[in-house]
Amino acid sequence: MNRAKRSRALFCLGFLSPALLLFGTLVLWPLVQTVWLSLHRFSGLSQNRDFIAFRNYETLFASSDFLKVLGNMSGYALIGVPVALVLAMVLALALNQKSRMTAWVMSFLLIPQILSVVAVASLWRFVYLPTGGLLAGVASWFGVRDLPLWLGDPVVALPAVVATWIWYAVGFYALLFLAGLQNVPGEVQEAAKLDGAWGWRLFSSVVWPLTWSVRKVTTLYAFIQVFGLFGLVIVMTEGGPARSTESILTYLVEVAFENSRFGQAAAIGVVNLVLVLGVVLGIGLLFRRDPAEASR
């Protein structure tokens, strides 16, 4: 490397170093420590640590509780994310109709995002409350008495929490989609209309491909958000009834703090990371080619 090139490399490194240093210290190093900790038996109450290689992982995957939690996570991800995104897209399409009400409706949809997760969870506990709750009250006006015990029935509790998450998240994703829709060039849409593409045809052949990047980011973010579910579950159900709503992070906290198995909790954290990375890679593959670019 000649002197000019070396100097340029040092110059770039100098500007990158603050970000690299912060990333290395606050993200990479704790990550390495977590992986290392997951190979130990460690109670979190003293400095005693025994190296046990992969035994924490073996215990985890032999545990019916952990498998149940993984099942719950697929419920949250495979029901919650698609429903939230479809609803958000429908809302965004409706709001893209340049009405005077758009700003008002958008502000209304974003109210859940302004509230804290604890407030949202408490609010929805009241909605689902079987005695004097909102749903029970509305149903009784119509003479319906035997509603499910939303948060008390292991069969319906997960869908009930998923519905709350959708209510919480949909406005935010609608906002992202709306931004994407508003970036679709008007002249392209006009040209398509002149060519006879209206309604579904206009949406599927013009709008949908041109919102590729925002759909990719939104889908990624929604999955990452679901794998980080914690506050909503803790306040609404604490993971119950009978672990039916337990998320991977609420389980991690239980294992670390209640069971004093910090090594195993670290292993859960690593599994969660791998799952999220897998989902990110999967979405990357799904969205690997911009259809608008590909058709050129």
Partner: protein, 441 residues
């Protein structure tokens, strides 16, 4: 280029300096424990009873002895204590609250054994041990060693509203037969006989299952269950207790919404008269104080027993909220001296008056206690068999399973036979798991 190179180097240097400064040991305010002075640091869980009593006790103690005591606490104080244990910078005396796994801490040598301190004389000259109720003190022992000490002692039982019972001519049930007969009358009157804190199955285990195991099989059977002895969770007393719970479920004795309610929601149902009885500890009245209507008079009683059971009908369950001295505390003597001060009967009496709960200190009950506390106190003092739910603290994973099993049973998704079979299988799993420490009671 050179100018920009200098700017880039400056950026790198500034970031490195920031990080190194942030990581120095003094940062974050956690270094105060390194000081060599002999003040006494007390850290306490700030739950429903707050920490104001400990603060005022510390002030009185300082006035009397000239020794400085600092008291701090918050509602999740155990989370702050764990890193301090790893670092070795522990307080002198602590009451870490429900999230702290004190038996694991004890098994790792992190807690100071307290027997020698208990044998020392208190200011009145008698061994300090005698200041404590012996049954409550015993709950702080593991494998013969006193590792934690009790202070306030909730008593577990059932509750009813005397006004509601008088109005309907009902009498609190003493036996399972009484309960079955009374429950039918209550249902006929449009009141659910029982509600419970469904989101927290611990209440149903301590309120229904364990007292009935004790009643059916006596303390031996209950201790076998706590020790996870082979066959204990499928013993006839467990089968009988679980079948009785299923019978109550099938007869509609439990408020059907209860599974979806948390502790305050279900207690509200009880207060509103939608359910006639509820299992709860003696904290019920102070916890629901703001919602209690005029004219209500909540009374404490022991869960009904099986009339032909092997257990003593006077058996009563208590809980302790443990205080402890870390093994690496810098001022253990000071910590003990302060806690000894708190456990003087006059000081403990103030706690009972101010907080409305019983303590483990003998002679701490003032004459002007509320009636429900008197009933709870009489139940404890008049009992030959005071017991506590030990399995919750000793075998967390098993207990979590038991809670799920209980929820499924009450939801009608599990038969008593399945409950018992699964509980025994889970106990067997724990027995065989070398990772889980086993305790002898």
């Amino acid at each position: 280029m050179n100018k920009w190179f200098l700017v880039a180097s400056g950026c790198a240097l500034a970031t490195a300096t920031f990080l190194l400064t942030a990581c120095r040991p003094e940062a974050g305010g956690g270094g105060s424990g390194k000081s060599e002075n002999k003040s006494i640091e007390v850290v306490a869980f700030k739950g429903g009873f707050g920490i104001d009593f400990y603060e005022s006790s510390a002030k009185l103690f300082t006035d009397e002895t000239g020794k400085k005591v600092s008291v701090s606490g918050d509602p999740r104080v155990w989370e702050k204590l764990k890193p301090r244990f790893i670092e070795g910078n522990v307080p002198d005396l602590m009451f870490p609250g429900w999230g702290f796994d004190h038996w694991t801490a004890a098994s790792e040598g992190q807690l100071e054994p307290l027997d020698s301190y208990l044998d020392q004389p208190d200011p009145s000259g008698k061994p300090w041990r005698e200041n404590f109720d012996s049954a409550a003190l015993k709950l702080g022992q593991i494998e013969g060693k006193q590792m934690v000490l009790p202070y306030y002692v909730p008593v577990m039982g059932w509750w009813y509203d005397e006004a509601l019972f008088k109005k309907n001519g009902w009498i609190p049930p003493k036996t399972s037969d009484d309960l079955l007969a009374l429950g039918e009358k209550m249902i006929a009157a449009g009141v659910s006989p029982l509600t419970y804190q469904g989101q927290y199955p611990d209440y149903m285990i301590v309120g229904f299952l364990l007292p009935w195991i004790h009643s059916a099989g006596g303390p031996e059977d209950l201790n076998s269950c706590f020790s996870l002895e082979p066959g204990a969770w499928s013993s006839p007393s467990v089968v009988r207790s679980v079948e009785f719970i299923a019978l109550l479920r099938d007869r509609g004795f439990f408020q059907k919404e209860a599974l979806a309610l948390n502790h305050t929601e279900s207690q509200m149902q009880f207060i509103q008269g939608k359910a006639a009885m509820i299992p709860c500890g003696t904290w019920l009245v102070s916890e629901m104080q703001k919602s209690i209507p005029e004219g209500a008079n909540y009374r404490f009683f022991l869960p009904p027993v099986f009339p032909d059971g092997a257990g003593d009908p006077s058996a009563v369950a208590i809980k302790i909220e443990p205080w402890m001295v870390p093994a690496r505390a810098k001022n253990k003597e000071g910590a003990i001296e302060f806690f000894r001060f708190m456990t003087q009967p006059e000081q403990a009496k103030k706690f009972v008056r101010e907080k409305g709960t019983l303590t483990a200190v003998v002679g701490s009950e003032p004459d002007d206690m509320p009636s429900f506390l008197k009933e709870a106190s009489q139940a404890v003092r008049g009992s030959n068999q005071v017991w506590a739910n030990r399995i919750k603290d000793l075998y967390h994973e098993f207990y979590k399973f038991l809670e799920q099993n209980m929820t499924e049973l009450l939801a009608g998704r599990r038969t008593p036979q399945e409950f018992v079979r699964l509980a025994e299988a889970e106990a067997e799993k724990v027995r065989k798991d070398p990772e889980i420490r086993k305790y002898k009671l």
